[in-house]
Amino acid sequence: MNSSQQIELVCPAGSLPALKTAIDHGANCVYLGFKDATNARNFTGLNFDPRQMRDGIAYAHQRGGKVLLALNTYPQAGNWSSWTAAVDRAAEMGIDAVILADPGLMAYAAKTHPQLRLHLSVQGSATSYEAINFYHERFGIQRAVLPRVLSLPQVEQVIANTAVEIEVFGFGGLCVMVEGRCALSAYATGESPNCNGACSPGKHVRWEQTPKGMETRLNGILIDRFADGERAGYPTLCKGRFEVNDETYYAIEEPTSLNTLELLPELARIGVRAIKIEGRQRSPAYVAQVTKVWRAALDQVMRAPDDFKALPAWMADLNKVSEGQSHTLGAYYRPWK
């Protein structure tokens, strides 16, 4: 491992209290979004108005932290100016970087605010160095977030062939589809992560106790049914139970979280520059718990990469806040596929 290359811990901030918690517990960066469809977590009660964002940036900067703004949905012809206004506002506020997916918006940002640091969002679906280098050459992006689809050797191959810093997902809800390439929510509800910043949005969700059990529906479509005593999960449509060839099971993915803590020495060795923690929709208590564990783990791997061990206590703490209290290495681990 190249000791001059520190790995940044990038934590979610769905609200000002979450931002402060993340910074206080050792996040190097927080990422956040405005309260509108310009970011991929456009949920009620979440995100920042301009005043909260100004306060958040001040809080982080006073403590040596950075603030990254996700503007990672795709603007349309009719609402383009909302996205450019968000870029302008962020630049004025002194944001440390904007995380973008749309090439048109990147071109705008690079031209209008040449000093503004650009990161390629995971929503940009760039899985190869050829794609990442495209954004680097055209718009000068300095970091790219990889979709959760590559194995560790494939991540290493990307890093070896680009000057762009690579950020990977380390922990949190597991999106099993290539980000930016999933229209399942749009198919079921008319609202998509790409265009509306929402997957399986709450206003389409219905829970109903029936003689067959608790049913969860998304726009009327039965996503899952739970027996008495079974905990009814949120109807995210790729984590429901369905029938294929008369067999009922989690046909796409179990409700589980990604946790790559035990891969940390490998991630450091291959030159990953930042680890992203998922979960802007989660509580400050979640942010505190996860940031604390990952800060300790990153400090240890930087200090002594060869002696690193994912402590059982860390894993236990992370499992407590994991979906379904379980975790997976996802695509980093080839047999998962």
Partner: protein
């Protein structure tokens, strides 16, 4: 208005693929997209085979286009991609930004911006035009109104192609859901998707067909069918894409042709297509609604 055949999204036995394209050679399709776009483990036809099929279709007067893989993961995926982007005989449909970079590097000014490039506004579309795109396959989730807004902002910039028939490609993953269904790992999948001509049907626990598992791709269960919407489409797009299904694809092509030639009404053609489809129709995306919806066209 031109009719195009999208890339074959399923894994059919080699001879079935060759027979299928032999049949397409004397269909009324104008454009045929070829190549493996879903999974790099699918090898019944290699790139050289696809090039041969492309030559055969070109000789039959079709425009043959080579489509690139949507999800690039490995160095060998990139190797295939480079070969596609540097051959000079056929046009290429770019399905990720790596392909866009390689085509621009090769000096191509005739490529097609594929449906997975996420072009949702005129600014991004203009960037692709500046980079050499001359046709654009609209993301299936885009509505007719959104398409018109983009086209009004960039009049005449390039041809637009709309996904008009077939199960909707909705998502890609690193995971193979077909292998998962058979309790197999992706790397040792035994090619279980081979011969599942329309994908594996996934239903809700109420037995309602919902999605289709096609290896690493997830599709709709319902068949997107814009035959009844042809009058509006004619003002918005120059090319209509028909995605090959396990059966009756050629008949569907001919139904679109007869409706376009006003030999029967769009509504009559739509009604005639219903018994040829593997599942119920939908057209919600085109109308700005959930994709699963079927709206009656005026």
């Amino acid at each position: 208005m031109k009719l195009s055949l999208g890339p074959l999204l399923y894994y059919w036995p080699r001879q079935s693929v060759l027979d299928f394209y032999a049949g397409i050679a004397d269909s009324t399709a104008d454009i045929v997209h070829l190549g493996e776009t879903v999974c790099s483990r699918r090898h019944e036809l290699r790139l050289d085979d696809w090039l041969e099929v492309a030559a055969m279709l070109a000789d039959a007067g079709k425009e043959a286009v080579l489509s690139t893989q949507s999800l690039i993961e490995s160095e060998s995926d990139l190797k295939t991609l480079r070969r596609l982007c540097t051959q000079t005989r056929f046009r290429v449909e770019a399905n990720d930004m790596g392909a866009v970079r390689l085509l621009a590097e090769a000096g191509r000014r005739d490529w097609i911006a594929g449906p997975t490039l996420n072009i949702f506004n005129p600014h991004t579309l203009d960037l692709m035009v500046q980079s050499g795109a001359t046709r654009w396959v609209v993301p299936p989730e885009m509505s007719g109104t959104q398409l018109d807004e983009i086209r009004n902002a960039l009049p005449g910039a390039l041809e637009a192609e709309v996904f008009a028939y077939g199960r909707l490609p909705l998502a890609h993953s690193a995971r193979c859901f077909t292998a998962r269904h058979y309790n197999l790992q992706k790397d040792t999948c035994e090619f279980r998707c081979l011969g599942i001509s329309d994908g594996l049907s996934l239903s809700t626990r109420e037995g309602e067909p919902f999605l289709t598992l096609n290896g690493v791709q997830t599709q709709s269960a319902r068949v997107h069918n814009l035959l009844a919407d042809l009058p509006a489409l004619a003002n918005s797009a120059e090319v209509l894409r028909i995605s090959p299904q396990g059966s009756h694809t050629r008949e569907i092509v001919e139904l679109f042709r007869t409706a376009l030639d006003a030999r029967q009404t769009p509504k009559a053609a739509f009604d005639a297509s219903l018994p040829l489809m593997p599942d119920a129709p939908c057209n919600g995306f085109w109308h700005g609604k959930p994709g699963v919806d079927q709206l009656v066209s005026a």
